[in-house]
């Protein structure tokens, strides 16, 4: 039972999920809920960082895996758990300034936030399809409610309805794909399915399963494709990102997307790796379509939320190119870009939320003259956006370099069509520069439309400062360590 300590983050989540409703009964103070959620997320974050850097301190054998039947704690899961908890913490802190004190149902909001985080943590550790599915659903159901949290607001309700319908549909697709796999392999664990697939490619298992595997891959990809919002399963993302309260959007764009990617990595890069011939091309096409459509559509957007949503679709396309490559380097590049993307997008949405909350609006025009109103927020937004383009020396360039580097290496060694994906990615980066620059231009080159004084909450300023430090100083200087982290995670992922 000693190993239970590694589930401290999950346990903390569960305790506070029960605790916040209890607080609601005991006290009417709206502040107490956010404090409770901040504390539990903060402890979970500290624990995860400690267990990562000081494995001895917690007697965690980092190379060995602490495995229950359905959970596993390894480098891969720990790395992503840190991201999930950190994002949730940021969202929780930002939410306090986003909602004013009179906002009703705050206890429910923080409970949902924590249960959504719990779902993500479960996904990070899942070792079988059922646990994975369960985690996704825990997280998804909580976020359906969070998206529609402001029920007086038409857009929020509409977004919630859309998200629920599409999410439920995609879950059905995933489940159908999983059931097909179960039907032929008789197993639900990743290891079991993986060894069956190895058997097929080695000729140990006799029989022609090509079509079934292809169809189940297609269904699983379609289901998970909705979660990570890649073309052609992306149509919900702009509406939901625009309609949801911005802190929720931050969670969706940064953490929920990473969760979807964990599922994709686990399913395709590990479980179905030996039958990669079946799905490689499909994923490659999805990746290319996703980045091109995302970038093209983002150019004409007037709403910053929608623009960032399309940019997210494009970024998902970049990350997807590593999956057909299937090498350790490519996967670690994909993991690195998923992580850095969480910071860049999270950082950008925190500012978007702040600008919206102080009443400036969500239009691109509302960013005019931001540099005069708050140089810090404008600088942070600039760093996030330039990082999303992939301009050196910011973190986005480095992770994108890892990603393209690993994929290109795999393409040169193996199938040459993968090189085309990389070139597509590079050309798309140039294309994307235009719409990101548009925001930067609005912030620095125009005067504010109305000269009213605006107060920006302190929490957002601290977070923005942290994001600048992280993206412009810390990652660029210590990118070798970032690479080592991601490499360890990708070894853990690929070797199971």
């Amino acid at each position: 039972m000693d190993d239970s300590i590694f589930f401290l983050p999950e346990i903390l989540m569960v305790v506070s999920i029960i605790g916040i409703p209890a607080l609601y009964i005991l006290t009417e103070n709206n502040k107490s809920y956010s404090i409770c959620s901040n504390i539990s997320l903060g402890f979970a974050f500290m624990f995860l960082v400690l267990s990562w850097y000081y494995p001895d301190f917690l007697s965690l054998d980092k190379s060995g895996l602490v495995s229950y039947d359905h959970f596993r704690v390894d480098d891969f899961s720990q790395l992503f758990k840190i991201i999930f908890v950190l994002t949730a913490l940021v969202v929780s802190i930002v939410s306090t300034s986003y909602f004013d004190d009179e906002e009703p149902h705050q206890a429910e909001y923080y409970t949902l936030l924590l249960s959504s985080t719990l779902g993500m943590l479960v996904v990070a550790s899942a070792t079988d399809f059922l646990t994975l599915f369960l985690g996704i659903e825990i997280s998804a159901f909580s976020s359906y409610a969070m998206v529609a949290f402001r029920k007086q607001d038409d857009k929020s309700t509409e977004a919630g309805a859309k998200y629920l319908l599409i999410g439920a549909f995609s879950s059905g697709l995933t489940l159908y794909g999983i059931s097909l796999l179960y039907a032929i392999t008789g197993s639900l664990t990743f290891d079991g399915v993986s060894s069956f697939m190895h058997g097929i490619s080695n000729g140990v298992v006799v029989g022609d399963f090509t079509e079934v595997i292809f169809i189940s891959c297609l269904f699983i990809m379609a289901g998970l494709g909705f979660k990570i919002a890649v073309v052609p399963f992306h149509a919900w993302a702009p509406d939901v990102y625009q309609g949801a309260p911005t802190p929720v959007t931050t969670l969706l764009a940064a953490a929920s997307k990473a969760m979807g990617f964990i599922a994709v990595f686990r399913v395709f890069a590990f479980t179905l790796e030996s039958v990669s011939e079946e799905w490689k091309l499909v994923l490659g096409i999805i990746a290319l379509a996703s980045m091109t459509v995302g970038n093209l559509a983002a150019i004409s957007q007037k709403d910053i939320g929608r623009m960032l949503a399309y940019s997210s679709i494009a970024q998902a396309g970049y990350i997807m190119i590593a999956i057909p490559a299937l090498t350790e380097e490519a996967m670690s590049g994909a993991i690195a870009h998923t992580l850095v993307h969480a910071f860049m997008k999270g950082g950008a949405f925190v500012i978007v939320g702040c600008i919206g909350a102080v009443g400036l609006g969500y239009n691109l025009e509302s960013y005019k003259g931001l540099a005069k109103r708050s140089p810090l927020l404008a600088l942070s937004m600039t760093v996030c956006l330039l990082s999303l383009v992939g301009i050196p020396p910011f973190a986005g360039f480095i992770s994108k370099f890892f990603l393209f580097y690993g994929t290109l290496q795999a393409g040169l060694a193996g199938e040459s069509w993968i090189i085309a994906l990389v070139i597509g990615g590079i050309l798309n980066s140039a294309l994307s520069l235009y719409y990101y620059l548009k925001v930067i231009r609005y912030m620095y080159l125009y005067d504010p439309e109305d000269s009213g004084e605006v107060e920006f909450p302190n929490s957002v300023r601290y977070i923005s400062f942290g994001v600048i430090l992280l993206l412009a100083v810390f990652f660029p200087l210590y990118w070798e360590s970032l690479f080592e982290l991601c490499k360890e995670a990708s070894i853990a992922l690929i070797n199971g």
Partner: protein
């Protein structure tokens, strides 16, 4: 069993003991009376095998030199034979030298060939005992932070910026002097950054980069002084200038492709803001165009860098290490890589037809921005071409020589013709930059020592004189109120000293003997005449146009009757902070025009090294 092991041992040792294998075809399918390849370049220790194409009986016999037709008791394959093969004795290829041979029966039909044995040139790498180059990178950054700390103060930012840039100027002079005329890289430093990828901060200067370092150092304080009375956000302005200076130094002193690319891109960010915040009316359009144009081009360049990296085994990004392996690159690979790199660099040069961002950026940029843009940033393109493309893909470069020549001549003529038609003085200078950089590109395209050296000298000369031209435009805007040439006239009477300086700068820029631009043009044209003969008339005609638009602009703007469109009582002499930079530039231009060897010597040594490396000498 014993023999088997012995054989195994021999087989195992074989790859270690022997060099590369080359084959010379004796007669080909299409032509029976040739050796193919007729000229073979190998390294010492390589093996050469002659392979007969059946058809005619031939043999291989050594001769004295490339003219002689008679066998000289050297190596000989035997009596003429039809078909079969013969290996050249390996002791003949052990040392550097050239072997000439003919086919005895067909020597009269010019059936001859040669084998050039040449060991890879050694590159001298001297690691310094004091980190001068790191100081170049660090000081402007410290200055930038310092300036930012005093952003509320009115005087402090410019004083700190001036102090920092003067200090950096001293360091860059020290770097220039210490580099001297030595062959190879000096003052090298290496700091590991990402050993897994083979990326390190590898710094070093040679005769190619030291003039550029000096140029960046000189332009720094001049920019700051010229912008002494900047009123809008002065602190941010100087911070961006200093960051830009760091990035420019970085481009000129790194010898690692990856770090080179990073600095190359960082340059864009401060320049974007300089144009966007302090620019003219159309600055929003110009800044975005500038950024997107150059960023897209450098992505293409990055693809070229990655191709080089993977082709050499993916172990190092060091330019030196990669260039050492240039013998292993196939010709097709070299062509593609050179094309990718050339697109990246040509946009920065800028060469026609990728020049359209330049006039927009220049016209909209503030004068200090234009000074940096024309003075130093435009040099990045040609510097990159000479440093990062030529030594690594020599065959690709040779293949593209005609393209480069055509682009260069078109740039010279088209740039000059457009300048002739401009009314805005700043736009005129911008197009004249296209024309002048065309001359430099022409020098590179000759692929000779003199041509390359002329090109680098042109980069330096244009690097000091075009900022002076922009300063003239800036002075006109500040002291007269407009830089529109048709509205000007008769300024010489009202600001005689300033007008005098204008005249000298214009004459220097058009290539007056005794000033720096003339030396560069002369060198390039001599080299071009030697390599391409009377095609020289075309660029010479460009020079006539150049003289034309300079003198015409001078005559319309500075001399003649007083213009009625400006109020002459408002016209003043340029203040000290505009006068001194222009005057010091004139001094420099005259100095390097009369004593060009101070620059030409290190440049020639470096150019010789590069050509030697390419196997062109």
């Amino acid at each position: 069993m014993r023999y088997f092991f012995a054989l195994l041992l021999v087989i195992l040792l074989l790859p270690v003991a022997s060099g590369e294998d080359h084959t010379v075809m004796v007669g080909t399918e299409s032509d029976t009376y040739v050796f193919s390849p007729a000229v073979l370049k190998i390294s010492p220790g390589d093996n050469v095998t002659f392979l007969w194409t059946p058809g005619m009986p031939h043999n291989v016999a050594e001769v004295e030199n490339s003219e002689s037709l008679t066998y000289n008791d050297g190596f000989r394959s035997g009596e003429p034979q039809d078909g079969g093969e013969w290996a050249l004795p390996s002791n003949l290829t052990a040392e550097d030298g050239t072997l000439y041979y003919v086919c005895e029966p067909h020597a009269g039909m010019k059936m001859r060939g040669e084998i050039i044995i040449q060991s890879a040139p050694e590159i001298a790498m001297e690691f310094g005992d004091f980190p001068w180059l790191s100081y170049l990178l660090v000081f402007p950054l410290i200055g930038a932070l310092w300036t930012f700390g005093f952003r509320e103060n009115t005087n402090a930012p410019r004083i700190i910026a001036l102090f920092t840039t003067l200090f950096t100027l001293i360091i860059s002079i020290i770097v220039f002097v210490k580099t001297g005329n030595k062959s190879g890289y000096s003052l090298m430093e290496q700091y590991d950054w990402a050993p897994n990828f083979g990326i390190s901060l590898l710094l070093g200067v040679d005769g190619l980069s030291s003039p550029m370092v000096l140029l960046t150092g000189i332009i720094g304080p001049l920019t700051v002084i010229f912008a002494w009375h900047e009123k809008e956000k002065p602190a941010l302005f100087f911070v961006l200038l200093l960051v830009m200076q760091t990035a420019l130094f970085g481009v000129f002193i790194t010898l690692d492709y990856f770090v080179f690319y990073i600095f190359w891109e960082i340059v864009l960010i401060p320049m974007f803001f300089l144009i966007a915040i302090w620019g003219g009316d159309n600055r929003r359009y110009a800044s975005i165009k500038f950024f997107i144009y150059t960023f897209t081009a450098s992505l293409v360049m990055l693809i070229g860098f990655m191709a080089l990296y993977f082709e050499t085994g993916g172990e190092t990004f060091s330019m030196i290490e990669i260039a050492k392996q240039n013998g292993n690159f196939s010709e097709d690979f070299q062509k593609w890589v050179f094309a990718a790199l050339f697109i990246g660099f040509a946009v920065k040069i800028p060469s026609v037809p990728w020049h359209t961002w330049l006039p927009d950026a220049h016209v909209e940029a503030p004068t200090a921005g234009s000074i940096l843009l024309a003075g130093v940033m435009l040099k990045m393109g040609l510097y990159g071409l000479i440093r990062a493309a030529l030594p690594v893909v020599p065959l690709g470069a040779e293949y593209f020589v005609p393209v480069m020549v055509v682009l260069a001549i078109v740039s010279i003529l088209y740039g000059a013709a457009l300048s002739l038609g401009q009314t805005d003085l700043k736009k005129l200078v911008a197009y004249s930059s296209v024309s002048h950089m065309g001359v430099a590109l022409l020098g590179v395209a000759t692929m000779t020592e003199l041509g390359l050296a002329g090109a680098v000298f042109m980069m330096f000369a244009h690097g000091i004189l075009s900022p002076a031209m922009f300063m003239v435009a800036g002075v006109l805007l500040h002291q007269v109120g407009t830089r529109d040439i048709p509205k000007l006239g008769g300024l010489a009477k009202h600001q005689p000293n300033t007008a005098g300086i204008f005249v000298v700068i214009f004459l220097g820029s058009l290539g007056l003997p005794g000033m720096a631009v003339f030396v560069a043009e002369l060198a390039v044209f001599i080299a071009f005449f030697q390599s391409h003969g009377y095609w020289l008339l075309l660029p010479i005609f460009g020079m006539v146009l150049t003289a034309g638009y300079h003198l015409w602009a001078l005559q319309r703007a500075v001399f003649g009757v007083d213009s009625e469109q400006i109020d002459m009582s408002d016209v003043h002499e340029a203040p000290w902070y505009e006068m001194y930079p222009m005057f010091s530039i004139i001094l420099l231009a005259v100095f390097f025009g009369i004593f060009p060897h101070y620059l030409m010597d290190p440049i020639s040594v470096a150019c010789y090294d590069i050509l030697n490396f390419m196997g062109a000498i």
